[in-house]
Symmetry: C2
């Protein structure tokens, strides 16, 4: 084991899209775990849209990143040293201190995962936070019934792709929105969506309407902006909108000269008796056992597929986050921090 390691720090807060300059890669001493702590060598780490919000200095459901300090987020690694009776060296754990080679983790904040049951990276995606977001938001809040229509944006992403496939498993029509013909083709051919609509093509709103001939019963909202505006006129009475993200707003792309759309939005929600509910995946921690059991079954039965966008090396993580926010990924973005097996 080397005595130095890398971590990625927030160098400055972005305004609008983040750039390379907002990040700094620093060499640090490998930290030493205290009582009740474990030292983890990270193998894979997650890059997620919600991290953009944490780069701003605003109160939200997770605290902001601090300038000069390392970023954090979901990661899976191997226990190197354990000062806790719950873990031993060689165990694989899911924890919240990504963006660094080595992490000292409070044992109470680490969860053992089984790399033989599923690849370590899936605990960051289909079996992890994005999968639970899709599962809880669609099934607990959206509650699609057989024959209803479910629309989801960012549909090739790790949340959207699960939303559409779970809608199908429950007998609903799955309509995915994605950027570009290649992603749209994959939604239908690889992931089994009933229809896919290219948000970058001219006539997008009409194409979306044509893909939803019986209207929209569940709009799983993770995008906002233009997609929401295109969905509003298609909503059926008593539609449900689980709201877990607004990636189109994260970098403040709305212009102050845009007309006020809030009255139009509220009028639609009123007239069509829509239920819109904001949620955060951590509100559904109690669903996790059922989620992991059902998702594993569907994966093994081949009813659920996933795609990963693997990025090599911690130093590539900032660019991976920037690309993700601009929609350049296809599937779950995972950074391979280090090989899974390594002489420590």
């Amino acid at each position: 084991m080397t005595s130095t390691a890398l971590e990625v720090r927030l160098a400055s807060r972005p305004s609008g899209w983040p750039t390379d300059e907002n990040f700094e890669i620093a060499e640090v001493e490998v930290p030493t775990p205290g009582d009740g702590e474990i030292l983890v060598r990270n193998v894979v780490m997650s890059v997620d849209p919600y991290m953009r919000g944490r780069m701003n200095d605003v109160k939200s459901y997770v605290p902001p990143f601090q300038v000069g300090a390392p970023l954090d987020g979901g990661a899976v690694g191997e226990v190197v040293t354990s000062n806790s009776p719950d873990f031993k060296p060689g165990d694989h754990v899911l924890h919240g201190l990504g963006w660094r080679d080595y992490a000292v983790v409070n044992a109470a904040h680490a969860v053992k995962v089984d790399g033989d049951l599923a690849p370590l990276s899936t605990y960051l995606g289909v079996l992890g936070m994005p999968g639970l977001t899709a599962y809880a938001g669609l099934l607990k809040l959206g509650q699609p019934r057989a024959g209803e229509t479910v629309v989801v944006g960012a549909a090739t992403g790790p949340v959207g792709s699960v939303v559409g496939q779970l809608a199908r498993i429950h007998g609903a029509r799955a309509v995915g929105v994605a950027g570009g013909p290649e992603k749209c083709r994959a939604l239908v051919e690889e992931l089994g969506f009933d229809a896919a609509v290219d948000r970058t093509a001219p006539g997008f709103a009409s194409a979306l309407a044509a893909a939803c001939p019986r209207g929209v019963d569940v709009y799983f909202e993770n995008v906002g902006g233009e997609l929401l505006r295109a969905v509003l006129p298609l909503l059926n009475d008593f539609a449900r909108i689980p709201l877990c993200g607004l990636v189109s707003n994260y970098s403040g792309s709305a212009k102050p000269t845009d007309p006020d759309r809030s009255a139009e939005l509220l009028t639609t929600l009123l007239v069509k008796r829509v239920t819109l509910r904001g949620f955060v995946v951590s509100d559904f921690a109690a669903e996790e056992p059922a989620f992991r059991r059902e998702m594993t079954e569907w994966l093994e039965a081949g009813r659920l597929r996933y795609r990963e966008d693997l990025v090599d090396g911690l130093d590539a993580a900032p660019a991976a986050l920037i690309g993700l926010l601009q929609g350049r990924n296809f599937g779950k973005v995972v950074v391979q921090v280090a090989p899974e097996d390594q002489a420590t």
Copy 2:
């Protein structure tokens, strides 16, 4: 019985606030009921904010009024002639054909009401559609718990005044917003609200915040606009927003140059995990028996009070609707079309 009668017609569609010119009072023959119909002499009729929406030519949850035809809406009257076994002359009925002296009503669309149990006008207010709107929206959707804070706008109106009092009955703190110091005083002194905030006073948003020291758990939305903006920062996590009206938008007072507030709205709903649900009173018809039983008990026990704003004569109805939309009423606006007892 005279052979001619009056009806109020939509002369033209308003843009913005309606004016006298949008209405026309016409003399017509008293109509003759056909098979299964009853002729009703209207005694009282209702004037409600939702009627403004029906003056526009747009699809909504109720069809628009037609230019040249009489308006309609809730009314209570006395049966003059009955061609239905369900009604006899002298019965009092609640029905949907107000805005006229005499109405021919399909017997299936009339409901007998008891003028001895409660004044006829209450079936248009506290025991009628506005009361059920408050009851269903607050108790079924808002679900206030003891110790929580409920905010409602247009609080001296027939919906808002019931919302606040029902919140108190269920152990919650009731904060009402109204226009002017006189209405605010009445909210606290007559209707038992815990606090009242004058939306016309300078520093309104700070005053609202001060009236809600533990934040807002239920915002009963019937106003929109500035009030909603003042409430957003005060919402607690997991707040509920039953949405039954947007009276501030009904006359299109929003300017196209206003900045877009929809992203701010959605971000708040997401971060605070708010449930916003549009509803229409007719969705809760099944609640009507429980509603009428409970409300009557609370009225008799003196736990629930109401105030009416009685307007005399059918020809005063247009001005009553215009005044209502501008917030000039205090309590339920009821038009006395004719005396309750009259030689027919």
